[in-house]
């Protein structure tokens, strides 16, 4: 049996008296699409930070492809193939789209350490960056400054930076946050079109996105796993409807 691409085992994290994450266990198989939902304050962001390495757990383990990465920081996990997007756009504002994507790929494959070659004279890397830009719908914006892009385009670049690292596991933190319905549809098509060589874990508020994209859904409540199942299971679950879906439709 092959190890899951991403796994959490008994993750535990407290901030003072607040137990933000309570023995969370989950496993995403290679190529899987997994979503985490839950009401505000359920501990989604804390779990995301524990998985990405921004926070260290009090107890429990994080495994990438069967390797324990619990002690690795965000950069170490990224070098093992984990990429993340940010809920609030986190870009290189003074770089063009092309330069930002090239920078991301150089950082990811170790090319960034070269101090004698010219960064801007690397046709292979520039082509790869253009391909990523095309994939996220920014082909005609390669020369635009990241900081000057429209909000929706910045969200697309947010995903593009993560993809430029050629990840095996992609963590998405509310990829459609703040987007218009059309932009959301475009983003969904983008995510649906990603190859199965990439395992995806997404935290999302938008139920349509979750049910559209995910094969498995984990419902968090008060920092613990309330339920895990297929989107159909979640939709029909009484306990989820009471705790979460019902509250939203009221």
């Amino acid at each position: 049996m092959t190890a899951p691409a991403l796994a959490a085992e008994g993750l535990q994290k407290s901030f003072g008296a607040l137990e933000a994450t309570r023995s969370v266990t989950l496993a995403v198989p290679a190529g899987g699409r997994h979503a985490i939902i839950g009401p505000n304050g359920a501990g989604k962001t804390t779990l995301f930070n524990l998985l990405s390495g921004a926070l260290m757990p009090d107890a429990g383990r994080v495994l990438l492809g069967g390797t324990d990465v619990t002690r690795d920081g965000p950069d170490g996990r990224a070098r093992r193939g984990l990429a993340r997007s940010f809920q609030r756009n986190s870009l290189f504002p003074e770089m063009t789209v092309a330069a930002a994507l090239m920078t991301a790929s150089a950082i990811a494959d170790g090319g960034a350490a070269a101090f004698w070659r010219r960064f801007d004279r690397d046709p292979a890397r520039a082509d790869a960056a253009a391909a990523i830009a095309a994939r996220v719908g920014l082909a005609d914006q390669l020369g635009a400054l990241s900081g000057n892009l429209a909000y929706g385009a910045q969200r697309q670049l947010e995903i593009g930076l993560a993809l430029a690292t050629r990840p095996s596991v992609l963590l998405l933190d509310e990829p459609t946050a703040g987007m218009s319905p059309e932009e959301t549809r475009a983003m969904l098509a983008l995510l649906a079109g990603l190859p199965r060589t990439i395992t995806i874990l997404v935290i999302e508020h938008d139920m349509d996105v979750v049910f559209d994209l995910a094969e498995r859904v984990t419902v968090l409540d008060y920092g613990a796993v309330l339920l895990e199942g297929t989107p159909a299971d979640i939709r029909t679950s009484d306990v989820v409807r009471r705790r979460y879906l019902g509250e939203r439709t009221q």
Partner: protein, 324 residues
Amino acid sequence: MTPPASHSRHAVALLLAVLAVGYWLASGYYGKELVAETAITAILAMSLSLLVGQAGLVSLGHAAYFGIGAYALAGFGQKLGWPPALAMAAAVAVGALLALVVGWVAVRLAGVFFIMITLAVGEMIHAWFLKDRSFGGVGGMSGVPRLDLSGIGVDLADPAQFALFALAVALLVYLLLDRLVLSPFGQTLRAIHQNEERARALGCPVGRYKLAAFVVAGAVAALAGTLAAQRSAFVSPELMTWTLSGEILIVVIVGGSGSLLGVSAAAALWIGLRHQLSTMTDHWMLAMGVIFVVLVLVAGDGIDGALRGLWRRIAARRAARRAA
């Protein structure tokens, strides 16, 4: 922040060098000293530009590496009697080593804490050389040897020739640092500067990159220090005061922090103005301060930004005329 690779930058570098050589030709003994001083200040400013303009690391203790380079040359070259070339190389290595040790701690700190620790370490080193008698304490130490280039027909004991030598070293440092700034490594420093959290999330060992930049800057500052010690054949704790660190930081900001040529031009302006104003008034420091404040207010991006803006305007006007 510099957008990489303006095609005309080497032409501008050549122009600056030609201006310096022209001044060197036209001036008397003191003018040649000014050329040497400018070249040395430009090297020091370019080394700090790598930290401030590329990596976003504002150091207020950069004179320490300058001073250590000077003292190390004095120690190896005079006290231990090593050949000057070897002593110079060793002094640069000492500067790099000091930067490695200080940077190991400092790059973990952000913003004002980084400024404070670089300042504190700089002051500690300054204080040590003030007290320590083996290097002359507050009075300093004279008799620092100069590099022997008689093999290629250059007599560095001659101040005029030494000035040209310092200028050549400055040009070499510019070419090396320009290469570094435009490399993937330089690009990654800018990425860290713009968004450290994102760089880390992409897999960048941010601390290691900052440390590498800190070490390179320390080594180049030490190189400038070895030239300063040779120029006056003298070292003193004056070479590592925090006011010198502050002055160099001002030069870097006025030049346009990420532009090697901008900060070099600012170094020339700094040395030239200081010389001119100090002959005119006792309050030359005040006058310099006013001039530099005005410069920063008029051109927020420094000399580099102002010239780029001027160039864009000329190009736009030319394009408009062609269209008409």
